[in-house]
Symmetry: C2
Subunit: 104 residues, 2 copies
């Protein structure tokens, strides 16, 4: 709908990474599927609403996919798509950088 002027492709990747909880969600998914409650337990300082909101955003962007199982209680899992997996090398560098400069 709305056309954005951008200087270079960098900005498009930046937009994904700019949302506060997307990075950590993708990171937790690097080894395979994760359940909703596990995100809740493992992500400090967030809350359920924010996590679900970001999960939906990531689905829209086709970075992750949802798997629902019709059991009781309800069970839902998320996995990375190829597009999502392609982000992992970036996240790994971000992790190293964070360790290098911000962890004593």
């Amino acid at each position: 709908m709305e056309e954005k002027i951008y200087t270079c492709p960098l900005e498009l990747t930046q937009k994904i990474l700019s949302k506060k909880w997307t990075v950590i969600i993708l990171w937790l998914l690097r080894h395979g599927k994760v359940r909703t409650k596990d995100f809740k337990n493992q992500i400090k300082g967030s809350n359920e609403k924010m996590i679900i909101e970001h999960l939906n955003y990531l689905i829209e962007e086709k970075l992750i996919e949802k798997r629902e199982y019709d059991v009781y209680p309800k069970k839902t899992e998320y996995v990375l798509t190829e597009k999502g997996k392609d982000l992992l090398p970036i996240l790994e560098l971000m992790q190293s950088y964070g360790k290098k400069y911000y962890v004593k």
Copy 2:
């Protein structure tokens, strides 16, 4: 001052990249010093205030440094610090990713 709970070092790097114009500013600095007006000319969709604001933020975070020359008209240049240069590999991957998925 304010202690933040975080899940992993990733989040600290994420915080830098989350600001809208930092990434493109650092990117323009990858080949050496850049003058204020050149940022203005080369960054589409932004404005002077935002750029200066982000430049100051990057100085606080010690990712760039300022060089002022006392001439008329005034001349100012910015350069990457080591900490800033260490971010370049990440930006390169972000650039490739952006090209791969968002440029036809």
